[in-house]
């Protein structure tokens, strides 16, 4: 029982990431009708926003420490961050320590900008082209973006730790009456799950309770009629693309302490997120979220040693097996709408 509960908890944070990426993918597909294979790259760029802000905050000037030597035997040059000079050492260190949460503020405008530039500069030229063309161009764009990141940041993962207050883990099992040390859960993963829940709630609230959201939902249902009413739906859809990019970016920012950012991390999530979208139902926002958590948790269960001893490698194919079963029994996915991708 404790092992199952443990894997359920583990599935929540991965499911959160799947859900956030799939939510953005569905927003873009639902509004613009574009199958965006560059969406994983937006997740990766978000993670590198955290890396970039950390690097900005740790921009330093050198101070010679005559008492120590470097690897060549010369006096050691010690890097002193400018934030220490500006705010004092204690406050400066705290600012650097909290660079990942602070990167949320940094990433929002950056990601909206990247999203809008991507949509206006490239993707809008492919609205009326077949899905195969859209997939090719967005996949190509994803490769270009990841190579740019690799050029500037290198190929190795870059450690981006969570604030010291959130490192380590808590004994969740002991809190609910299990043996100590049986169900351990890291603080930051709990933070990630809560953060994902807030973002998902905010996106749904925005679409449900604002006029802008109402117009977007109307446009998703019948773009032509909304256009005939004199509403510039294209402009709103561009903004939605920016929002979807921001959601993916924020998912990446907060994921940086869980998996050290590397240029390839977007691709690792992209294919699985597409499966999540298909299982949830193309164009269905609640479906994307539901399927994200469902598949994240199932993948976690399939990684149990007891399961792998019976079916080796199940954890690598479980998501695809579920996708096959769902598509055979419910061709539109769990919550898919009639008419989407069926013409």
């Amino acid at each position: 029982m404790d092992a199952l509960l443990l894997q359920f908890l583990n599935g929540l944070d991965k499911g959160s990431a799947y859900a956030l990426i799939a939510l953005g993918l569905t927003l873009i597909f639902g509004t613009l009708g574009v199958v965006n294979f560059a969406h994983g790259a937006l997740f990766m760029i978000g993670a590198f926003c955290a890396v970039t802000l950390n690097r900005i905050l740790t921009l330093s000037h050198e101070v010679i420490d005559e008492t120590r030597t470097d690897f060549l035997g010369n006096p050691l040059k010690v890097d002193v961050p400018y934030v220490y000079d500006i705010f004092g050492e204690a406050t400066g260190a705290a600012i650097i320590d909290w660079s990942v949460p602070l990167a949320i503020l940094f990433a929002i405008p950056v990601m909206i900008g990247v999203g809008v530039a991507m949509e206006r500069g490239l993707i809008r030229h492919f609205y009326k082209r077949p899905h195969a063309d859209q997939i090719l161009v967005t996949f190509g764009l994803a490769i270009v973006l990841q190579e740019i990141i690799k050029y500037y940041y290198g190929a190795n993962p870059i450690p981006t730790p969570a604030p010291a207050a959130f490192t380590g883990s808590f004994d969740f099992g002991a809190m609910i009456g299990f043996e100590p040390n049986t169900i351990i859960y890291p603080y930051w993963r709990l933070v990630y799950f809560c953060f994902a829940a807030v973002i998902i709630g905010a996106v749904f609230a925005f679409l449900q309770f604002t006029t802008f959201g109402m117009v977007v939902r109307a446009g998703m249902a019948d773009r032509e009629t909304v256009g005939l009413l004199g509403i510039d739906i294209d402009r709103r859809f561009t903004i939605m693309f920016g929002m979807a990019a921001a959601v993916a970016g924020l998912a990446g920012v907060m994921y940086a302490p869980i998996t050290s950012p590397n240029y390839h991390m977007g691709m690792d999530f992209l294919v699985l997120s597409f499966v999540v979208v298909v299982v949830g139902g193309m164009g269905s926002l609640p479906g994307a979220v539901l399927a994200g958590f469902l598949l994240g948790i199932l993948e976690s269960f399939a990684s149990m040693r007891e399961v792998l001893e019976i079916v080796p490698g199940l954890n690598q194919i479980i998501i695809y097996l579920v996708a096959i079963v769902i598509l055979l029994t419910r061709p539109r996915g769990l919550m898919g709408r009639k008419g989407v991708m069926e013409e």
């Binding site: 443990l6 690897f71 351990i184 869980i258 998996t259 149990m304 080796p312």
Partner: protein
């Protein structure tokens, strides 16, 4: 007045013969006129540096390439000479190799066996490379080594740690300076026993490919021989980035040591996840929970950040070693590039010099003569103390370093501290235990 008849059939015949001639790879045609593949006939000789320039080990590949460029500079008489000044063999004079200026071409292995073979093949056939060296993966090393054997050129392996490279997949034309999984296990086990005791329960997470298996096997054999119990060994996919679902059950298994048979990004992520789950803060079976990383590299340690502190592992070489060879190499490399070299850079630099030295001593670029000069060659002054290139399997035998993540690093390069230099006698094994046959050397003629 002569008349030339040009018929359609004649043109087709001529074209067909010419085309067939051109289509035969130079790898086969060149030998008819030369004694061996790509025999240098001009005033220069070309070496092929096959390193990962893209893909997950691109940073290691970049460091390897820096080392090769430095080696070429030193071989041609440039710079301060680096380890040529400390190398026990004095055959190299700084005038190229056998008086021929050293030139080089580079290939990108992409850390994919097929891409690595294609780039090596291209360097041999199109660029006339007489020797291929480099790489940062055992899968690539085994694949390229087999290609070089077929093509009749020497392969001086780069960073490859699997037992198989000089075990079951060894070839007469292939040589490895880097240490292997067996040596890591043999060097680590006594240190682990001394620090953590003989009564431990180990849980292995192992990368699901050749290197992972041989490393797990080596560490298990060595630690079990000291009394440790292996409670579980779980294979993890090479593409895995989040190891939480593998790490979470570790405490439930009753294990008190986690061995991460991972390298590169796998190791960075699994170690980060293990620390996030607070494993190192736990007490199991009345003992502190410990983590072990059998193969360390400084580039990986940098990726894992503060998580490496206090964690034991092994490494082929480290820039902080006090010997004259290391000091000379670090000075050359550090002055040229501004930071100390990695172990990948070191092994590649040494391999380039060892090849050149063997050619000088053999008096020929013929791979069979070079192989003979390398077999059983004993040398010193290259950063690892007295070293033997064993004739039976073309594996270098030298002291192995056991290192630990430094508690208080002074810079981003100062991440590992040497806790033990395990003598070569403790890591030497019978050449036959891993199977395989060297076969005959192939000069390509």
């Amino acid at each position: 007045m002569s008349k030339t008849d040009v018929s359609r059939r004649g043109v087709l015949k001529t074209s067909a013969v010419a085309g067939a001639g051109l289509a035969v790879p130079t790898i086969f045609t060149a030998q008819s006129a030369a004694a061996f593949t790509n025999e240098p006939t001009g005033s220069s000789v070309t070496l092929g540096f096959n390193v990962p320039q893209t893909g997950p080990y691109a940073d290691e590949g970049a460091d390897e390439l820096r080392a090769y460029e430095l080696a070429v500079e030193h071989l041609n008489g440039g710079g301060d000479g680096g380890m040529m000044n400390t190398f026990s063999s004095k055959a190299l004079q700084g005038n190229g190799i056998l008086g021929k200026k050293v030139e080089y071409v580079t290939g990108d292995t992409q850390t994919k066996s097929d891409a690595a073979r294609a780039s090596a093949k291209s360097m041999i056939e199109k660029d006339g490379a007489v020797m291929i060296t480099g790489g940062s993966s055992s899968g690539v090393a085994v694949a390229v080594q087999a290609l070089c054997q077929e093509a009749g050129v020497i392969f001086m392996a780069g960073l490859t740690h699997s037992n198989d490279t000089t075990g079951k997949d060894k070839k007469a034309n292939g040589f490895r300076h880097f240490f292997n999984s067996y040596m890591s296990g043999a060097a680590l086990a006594p240190i682990l026993a001394a620090n953590y005791g003989n009564d431990r329960k180990a849980y292995h997470l192992t990368a699901d490919y050749n290197w992972g298996y041989t490393t797990e096997e080596a560490v298990r054999n060595s630690t079990e021989a000291l009394g440790w119990d292996t409670v579980a060994a779980v294979k993890t996919p090479l593409t895995q980035t989040d190891f939480s679902s593998y790490i979470a059950p570790v405490l439930q298994s009753g294990a008190d040591v986690l061995v991460l048979n991972h390298y590169g990004g796998n190791m960075v992520n699994s170690l980060t996840n293990a620390v996030q789950f607070g494993l190192r803060d736990k007490e199991v079976n009345g003992k502190n929970f410990e983590i072990v990383v059998p193969l360390y590299s400084r580039l990986m340690a940098r990726g894992a950040g503060a998580n490496v502190k206090g964690i034991f592992g092994s490494t082929n070489w480290h820039w902080s070693l006090p010997d004259a060879g290391t000091q000379a190499f670090v000075k050359s490399f550090g002055t040229k590039y501004g930071f100390p070299p990695s172990q990948a850079a070191h092994t590649c630099y040494v391999q380039a010099l060892l090849y050149a030295d063997a050619v000088e001593r053999a008096g020929s670029f013929n791979p069979c003569a070079v192989g003979e000069a390398l077999e059983g060659f004993q040398f010193d002054g290259m950063g690892n103390g007295p070293t033997l290139y064993r004739a039976a399997d073309h594996q270098c035998f030298k002291d192995v370093l056991v290192v630990k993540g430094k508690e208080n690093p002074t810079s981003e390069f100062d991440l590992l501290e040497i806790v033990e230099i395990t003598p070569v006698s403790q890591v030497t094994y019978d050449a036959s235990i891993f199977g395989g046959e060297l076969g005959a050397c192939n000069p390509g003629a």
